[in-house]
Subunit: 756 residues, 2 copies
């Protein structure tokens, strides 16, 4: 269970730096040096390729396809065809040879290798000297995706040589990308070459989504146009003179059309070439300047400054950088995949993590992006209703894993049994309303989702044998080491809260015409509302007032005990080392379940209750989800266990930088990155956002000298600075705000200092 | 839930007869008219083929192959490649044309169609008149598999015409058999033609099992040899004269070599041609005579005579006929597939049905076959030990579904959670010892299996949280509508009985050297035996002495109630109409579970206990297993509910004849056929074989005038005759036997009459 860091990057406040090429960590670097701008994402692979294991991954948000084979034994309610994010166009690809020798860092002799991702610009650069006989060729590769013009990407290659040398440099747009190391999910439709630019038009296999990519290369050298089976190239042969520096700048435009089936190649060509002209005119440097400005705004409003631990400082900035790269509310049809746009694991799917782990970051930094995340669910409402019907229920059941709103998980034991995505959507709306005060969103979109979800929960839930209580049978809660259990308390409690929120909204907004419009639209009768009310009242919550313990599910307390400290380290992850059924047969838990609903509805529980449940469940938790430690750290902060809080925090910000889980190679743990932010702001910062008003109660971890963070709350921009003397809350908005600070309600006009 | 008969066959005491061709029931007829002899089985398809849906199925016991694709998401313990019985050589295939027109009963104009399977010979005959313009061609097709010489099959075709006609008749051996309507799992190795005979040598795709088929055709007409891609043919062109009758007799020899990889084609050729020569010399009629004698012996010792209901009479004889065709202890590597050798559904796999439902028939009719059924498990011990290891346990875990001893079911929710195959093997040995008194078998083979199974159960079971009791967590009992439950009472009880039987055997035979040999061989320590003892003592049995109810599993009594009478008939089978998860979330049960262990260990429970549990569980049971009604009928007999007993018995003997489940087309319900026998002998006959001595307590169903059955018990052959006046037990052996008759122990020397 012990997690061990695998460090090889330099500790650096505003970026990540690899000095000297670490071949054995090449796949991990590909993930860590990923560039994204929400619209697209490219792993940090080498432009020229490498003869080592490599995942040349390039993805576009919302570009997906369906599995080629049906799920076997797909009984009713089981997803017959999964869908997944497609590994799409490789637009940074090049070929480089000098004196007839192809560059390949697996074997080429090099020195002075340095690779850097700059958090202030998003520019990825790589420099090294290639020793080719007597020749020393200095190479610099730079690239970035535009954060302001999402279709655009830029690439720069600089070559210097101490000797005369013959160089071939080719730039490609290549759709021959291998999915799952196995299949290609693209067909090439057409190639184009005009005025020294090249373009390629491709289409996904069954979803018929189109990707058109265009490129222009700035160079005085005359190029030749080249065609690949799945793409195009522009190739340059030239002789470099000793001491000369040759520079190439490529401008790329990608048009990834989700509904591409309705768009003609011709109109794509027109649009793309026009955009390419503007982008090229604008050029690498100006576009980079725009990125700089963009990131400067981000850091101004969202930076977390830590004094006292350089690794944590780098870690949390990496987290914020990657979160913003992945999602910032550019398009409400986008969501946050478990691996962002940095790999194919989890199929690019978004999970309940979006509302439960990621939403808080956006709520307190970018409310409009937070709203967009919820709008994604509104656009998915029809699919969620279809999914509910597949499960023999009315209402809306949100998918466990999705790109397009449809259920993408073909493991019935998850997709048909887990309802935290649905209750999570309701919690997200509830949370959004509390933090932003945007009631219109709730009435215009939220209420309909909430009522359809409540309707589903009413149908999926059941009354027990003597009809004395209501609850959920045959479910899997957040603790995925329990399957087909009855009365999972997380599910029951969150359903109860869903029913309650629905009832309260209907009462509060009963006179708003939008309320009756929604009720009429979804045909919700008084009788149905009465039944929802009954289910809320009689919801079975397994709680023992003597011990103050919630039972995770019916029978949990009687389960065989598993001493998790006696499980040999080599048996983790258990899915790879234990017989599948064995994982489910004890009191060992995978991630917080009781603690999770106690965190989400923190204000509803006393400190004694939290302590009792933390002390019972924490020793049974093996944290096989990367989201688990942060939640435990937040509890430890609140419960006066600073050492435990720090120990759980230890790898939260650096999960990927130090590859604690040994699977960063597959892509970044994007939602854990969001949990790391929560760990600082909710944990050390003591923020709670589920009560009547926002509360803050910061503490300073022993290992830090000071730290500060920002939050946006109901339109007020606040900065919190914490050091050894105490803390200071600065209201950066010209409007007072009421907060609960260290347990007392306080009105903050300019600032409030505590102990300072 | 109502089952409706689909009658089209004539009611006939010694066979089944179809008068007039029922096109729409053609697939069902293919199943019903199946011929088998344990070694091989052929569905009753038309020799010449038909342009209607048809499953030309021809199978050999033990000839199987592996799936072409891996199971997706095959976590540890989940079977990666399933295996299945291969649709093998078609050796009855012919081609027949008259005046250039091919015979095809889908479209050919025919009259006077009659098809018959004769239970006294196993001969299948089909006669009809083919009207071809003015010509009337009388055709008779006959065929059978030899019951005494299992490699041999015979076919006879007779043609008469009122007119001169040109006939082409070809006889084929064709390996081009379509599995699952999709794939061929054979490759042809070689074809042979010598002295007017033809042969073909084929091999399964990955298991490399060989099938060599040889044929000779008796006819004065000169034939020509023909080759097919996957087989061979002998073809005859001739002109038939008005009034002339032309007859062809084909002798077939099949050598299906399970371990064919080690056998050369040449030795197969030599063996096959030799056998073909003898078989041909013997000829159709002599072979049929041998079959007649064989079946006469079977009926003498195993017939059940029913007076008063011709349909039941036909039904039970069909059951006995098919059971004997499928399995009679010819080879201990054979077992009884759920569909016998009559179809591909259930992959030809044998289930726990073999020991639990089929074994009793053989115990009381053919103890040596019963022993062979158990020897199959002994030969599978090594595979069962491997399977246990796959489940992270020591000992032996017997597969849910198998042909070769390996687990063949890739649904983990069955294969990793159901242990009734393992406890069923132990029960089978226990039952075998009781009925036959063959203690040597127990010591030579049984004990080792029992101890390895006990070892497995000890490992798979767990102690509860406070270690006060032992039991099984995360299991599925016989009621397959409960999944991942804890303390399924069937599993716990049968495991307790396993531990108890193991302990008793070790005590009883402690001085027999074979006992210590086994303990040494399997390295079972005193400590392990002590732990088995503890688990036996502390086995958790959910029983309420007040209500006398056993709880099917922990929490069952609190489950939501499902009123099964309110489920619309069209929603059956539920697997095809309900969302998969929904099936598992209520108190509805699929088949007897508590009642099942109370049946198997009948003597351990009082009538009051049986009544309480019957009254509780029966109304919750939807009988979605074809085995379920018979068990309920047996209880109803014992509990004085003759009407219910009859109603459950109603379709037991005619499940397939009247196609109650609408799936006889896929193959016969072979194990339900065995349950039908139990229904009569255990139900109406009141036989109980789990107590100290065999007990009999017959009653006469109201709809019958009389009935009689035979049993063989510890070497004594007994006949039981029951009529309205009472019953008579005749001891046909010159040795007295002690039975419990109607509740009292009685010694029977010649006969014992009760009320007569």
């Amino acid at each position: 269970m012990e997690k061990i860091a695998q460090k090889y990057l330099e500790t650096e406040p505003w970026g990540i730096i690899e000095r000297g090429f670490h071949k054995e960590r090449s796949l991990v670097s590909e993930s860590l040096f990923s560039s994204s701008n929400e619209y697209a994402g490219v792993r940090g692979y080498f432009e020229e390729g490498i003869s080592l294991p490599s995942l040349r991954g390039s993805y576009f948000n919302g570009i997906y396809d369906y599995a080629k084979e049906d799920t076997p034994n797909a009984y009713l309610g089981i997803v017959k065809r999964t869908h997944f994010m497609v590994n799409a166009m490789d637009y940074f690809k090049i070929f480089l040879s000098v004196n007839g020798v192809k560059l390949d860092l697996a074997s080429s002799e090099i020195s002075d290798f340095i690779r850097k991702m700059d958090f202030k610009t998003g520019e990825l650069t790589r420099r090294f000297v290639w020793h080719l006989g007597e020749s020393e060729i200095k190479l610099t590769f730079s690239r970035f995706l535009s954060m302001t013009e999402c279709h655009r990407a830029y690439q720069k290659i600089e070559i210097e040589s101490n000797d005369s040398a013959e160089v071939t440099l080719s730039f490609y747009l290549d759709g021959n990308m291998i999915q799952w190391g196995r299949d290609v999910y693209f067909t090439n439709l057409r190639k184009e070459h005009r005025n020294g630019t090249a373009a390629t038009f491709s289409q996904t296999l069954t979803t018929n989504q189109k990707i058109a990519s265009f490129m222009a290369v700035e160079t005085p050298i005359q190029g030749t146009y080249e065609e690949l089976p799945m793409g195009v190239g522009l190739s340059y042969d030239f002789v470099i003179k000793p001491g000369e520096k040759v520079s190439f700048r490529r401008t790329i435009v990608n048009l990834a059309e989700r509904n591409g089936i309705f768009i003609s190649d011709l109109s794509l060509s027109e649009k793309g070439n026009k955009e390419l002209k503007i982008a090229t005119k604008n050029g690498y440097d100006k576009a980079l300047d725009a990125n700089k400005r963009y990131w400067s705004e981000i850091w101004k409003k969202s930076d977390i400054v830590i004094d006292g631990d350089k690794e944590d400082q780098q870690g949390i900035r990496f987290a914020i950088f990657q979160l913003e790269q992945t999602y910032h509310g550019f398009d409400s049809r986008d969501n946050i995949g478990a691996k962002g746009l940095t790999g194919e694991a989890y199929s690019g799917h978004a999970f309940w993590d979006s509302e439960t782990y990621c939403l808080p970051y956006y709520l307190f930094n970018n409310p409009s992006a937070a709203k967009d995340l919820l709008m994604f669910r509104y656009f998915g409402l029809e699919e969620a209703k279809k999914r509910a019907l597949m499960l023999d229920c009315k209402g809306a059941c949100y998918p466990i894993a999705t790109l397009n709103g449809k259920e993408g998980c073909n493991l019935w034991q998850h997709a048909s049994l887990q309802f935290q995505p649905s209750t999570g959507v309701v919690y997200g709306i509830y949370h959004y309303e509390k933090v932003t005060g945007d009631h219109d969103f709730v009435l215009d979109y939220g209420l309909e989702m909430i009522l359809e979800i409540a309707r589903f929960l009413l149908e999926r839930g059941q009354w027990n044998a003597d009809r004395s209580h209501f609850g959920f049978y045959g479910v899997m809660g957040p603790d995925e080491f329990k399957m087909m259990v009855n009365h999972n308390t997380y599910t029951n409690y969150m359903a109860k809260k869903t029913f309650q929120y629905a009832r309260e909204l209907l009462e509060k907004y009963q006179k708003d015409p939008r309320t009756s419009r929604v009720l009429a639209k979804i045909k919700m009768s008084k009788d149905e509302l009465k039944r929802i009310r009954e289910a809320e009242e009689k919801m079975f919550i397994l709680y023992n007032p003597k011990t103050k313990l919630f039972e995770e599910n019916e029978g949990f307390f009687g389960l065989p005990h598993i001493d998790i400290d006696k499980i040999p380290t080599i048996e983790f992850p258990l899915y790879s080392h234990w017989s599948y059924d064995r994982i489910y047969r004890g009191d060992m838990i995978k991630q917080p379940d009781v603690l999770m609903f106690m965190f989400l509805h923190s204000a509803a529980f006393t400190k004694e209750q939290k302590l009792a449940n933390y002390d019972f469940y924490e020793p049974r938790c093996i944290h096989e989800s990367s989201l688990s430690p942060s939640i435990h750290s937040i509890f430890a902060c609140e419960l006066g266990k600073p050492k435990e809080a720090l120990s759980f925090f230890a790898f939260a910000t650096r999960m990927d930088l130090d590859d604690y889980n040994r699977n960063t190679a597959e892509g970044l743990h994007m939602t854990s990155i969001a949990a790391a932010w929560m760990n600082i702001v909710y944990g050390f910062g003591g923020l709670r956002s589920d009560g009547d008003c926002l509360s803050i109660n910061p503490q300073l971890p022993a290992v830090w000298k000071s730290y500060s963070f920002h939050i946006l709350y109901q339109g007020n921009r606040l900065k919190v600075e914490v050091d050894k003397k105490g803390f200071l809350i600065i209201n950066q908005t010209r409007r007072s705000v009421v907060l609960s600070v260290a347990g007392k309600k306080r009105k903050i006009i300019r600032s409030l200092s505590f102990g300072k």
